[in-house]
């Protein structure tokens, strides 16, 4: 369970998003919102990429602000439009990030295989299509033993096969590892395949049940 209390994120004194209280248990939470509503800012703040105010804490007391390293070990993030330094290969990135997240090589290779990345695993990112970059970003998001996985627009640029692999892995992580997923998507999430716990909409700079 992740608890968010008195969360707020501001830029130059202007609040972008604030949340009084939110509790997220294992399962999928769909975050909706117009362009510019602050979804990505919210996600990046939770993932520790942007500083923010408020209490963001797991059940056992691991807190974003007071336990930044253990918190980051449990929270993984996949960007909507991932970009990596062009000269790095998937191998360089997955091995390095996997090591920091505590993923052994077996787990790293499992996701490489699942997302069918073997053919370009040792090629530099500058040669990738946006779909290939997306797969790399999604594979990175599952490394280690995360308790919260944030997927920003996970379905865009993915082919049908990769999409079904992603859905299977999400299901597996919810049932076997009790992971919480925060997803944003402008497309409808396949309701037959993915059972969404709750839907939230960002309105008037806060999260309301959708």
């Amino acid at each position: 369970m992740l608890t968010i209390e008195n969360f707020s994120k501001a830029y130059s004194g202007t609040t972008i998003i604030s949340i009084a209280s939110l509790k997220l248990s294992s399962g999928i939470y769909w975050i909706k919102g117009e362009n510019g509503s602050g979804k990505t800012t919210f996600f990046k703040s939770l993932a520790g990429l942007h500083p923010c105010e408020g209490k963001i804490q797991f059940d056992d007391g691991v807190n974003l602000h007071t336990n930044p390293i253990p918190f980051r070990k449990r929270v993984n993030y996949s960007e909507a439009e991932p970009l990596y330094p062009g000269f790095l290969t998937s191998k360089d990135l997955i091995r390095f990030i996997g090591k920091t997240k505590g993923a052994d090589q077996k787990q790293q290779d499992f996701f490489v295989e699942q997302f069918k990345m073997s053919s370009y695993f040792e090629k530099p990112c500058e040669t990738y299509s946006s779909g290939m970059l997306k797969k790399l970003s999604l594979a990175i998001a599952f490394l280690g033993a995360p308790k919260l996985i944030i997927l920003d627009e996970p379905l865009i640029t993915l082919d049908i096969q990769a999409r079904s692999v992603l859905i299977q892995i999400i299901e597996k992580y919810i049932h076997e590892h009790e992971v919480t997923f925060l997803l944003s998507s402008h497309q409808a999430l396949e309701s037959d395949d993915l059972k969404v716990n709750d839907t939230f909409v960002i309105e008037k700079k806060t999260l309301v049940q959708g």
Binding site: G38, T40, K44, G48, I69, K123
Partner: protein, 370 residues
């Protein structure tokens, strides 16, 4: 038209001068520091005296133009600059005007020196030289503009990976401390090498002074301050890489001690030329402990800046007054005989404290995303 010209200048011209600031700094340092005005005049008269001798500055301008063309190609490959390809949709007169103005500004140092040489050629009535200067500069601007136009019209070329890169990628996994050195060497090679040449020359010059007279260790300390303060542009780029170009880095559960270790490893790779210069030319009258202390002092300057840069997002322009202030402070401390180990200790502690305190609260001042 004005907006097209303005965008091209911001993306290509301003960025070009910013990326090559180290090199221009070096050129200004050499021409203003090592040469007197009458030597410049003598050199200009020498070049302008014969068309054969004019081949020397023309060769330099050609190399400079090749660098400009490479820079433009690299900038256009960046994803954030894809919108510039819309320039190709403009009516040809507007497009070419924008491209020629861009190249004119990028080649301005060569054009200004050409005008300087022409003044001597006119005074001495060397018509061949005048025609050579005009023709060569005009040709370089035209070639540069055509190269830019070609890059704009052939944006979607397949990225080729060299055999060596393929071999390296297959055989090795790059360790994190190598990420930045390769990134900066690819992205801004002239800035990197300009900084290296500048700081190495400073250290070489300072260490050579010990051969002519008796000085204490403070002179080397002053040289280290200048040479390693110049590394701040690289440290600034390290921070940009870590937080902007590889932002996922901030999500990684890496303890501070390890982050600092990664930075020091990266730093050691970047300052190999300067370290080599200190070790190879270290004055014979000082013992090895002094050498270790000097190297520690040298390392402490970039470590200080690395931590201090996290206190607030500053662009390079805003950074310069602080760089000047810190450098002068170190110079004064050295002149007042504060030992190098004491200054190094302060630098390392302040750098570490800033990194720990501000790392997670640091943020680029930018627009919020979607």
């Amino acid at each position: 038209m004005k907006i097209v010209s303005s965008i091209l200048q911001r993306i290509l011209v301003r960025e070009f001068y910013r990326a090559n600031a180290g090199l221009f700094f070096l050129a200004i340092g050499i021409s203003a520091g090592f040469m007197r005005s009458y030597e410049h005049v003598a050199l200009a008269e020498f070049f302008s005296a014969s068309p054969v001798l004019m081949l020397v500055p023309i060769s330099v301008w050609t190399i400079y133009t090749i660098n400009v063309m490479k820079f433009n190609r690299d900038v256009l490959k960046r994803k954030e600059n894809e919108f510039i390809f819309h320039v190709t949709l403009l009516p040809p007169p507007q497009k070419w005007a924008g491209l020629f103005v861009t190249l004119f500004y990028q080649l301005l140092p060569a054009i200004l020196y050409g005008i300087f040489l022409m003044a001597f050629a006119i005074r001495n009535d060397f018509m061949d030289t005048i025609l050579m200067i005009i023709a060569s500069l005009l040709l370089l601007v035209i070639v540069g503009a055509f190269a830019l136009s070609h890059a704009l019209h052939h944006s979607n070329q397949e990225k080729k990976v060299s055999l060596l890169s393929k071999f390296i990628n297959l055989s090795f996994t790059k360790p994190f401390p190598l990420f930045f050195p390769e990134w900066i060497a690819r992205r801004e090679p002239l800035m990197l090498f300009g900084t290296k040449i500048f700081s190495s020359l400073i250290l070489l010059g300072v260490t050579q002074l010990y051969k002519t007279d008796i000085y204490d260790l403070r002179l080397l300390g002053l040289g280290i301050v200048i040479a390693f303060s110049a590394q701040v542009v690289l440290v600034w780029e390290v921070q940009r890489f870590d937080n902007f170009y590889f932002p996922l880095n901030r999500n990684l559960p890496i303890p501070f001690s390890k982050r600092l270790l990664y930075f020091v490893c990266t730093l050691l790779i970047l300052i190999i030329p300067e370290l080599g210069m200190i070790i190879k030319n270290f004055p014979a009258e000082f013992n090895n402990l002094n050498m270790i202390l000097s190297i520690l002092f040298a390392l402490s300057i970039p470590v200080f800046f690395y931590g201090w840069l996290y206190t607030k997002d500053r662009d390079q322009e805003k950074l310069m007054p602080f760089l000047f202030f810190f450098s002068i402070s170190w110079i004064l401390l050295i002149l007042f005989k504060i030992p190098l180990w004491a200054i190094a200790s302060i630098n390392l502690n302040v750098g570490l404290a800033c990194l720990k305190k501000f790392y997670y609260s640091f943020e680029y001042i930018s627009k919020p995303e979607d």
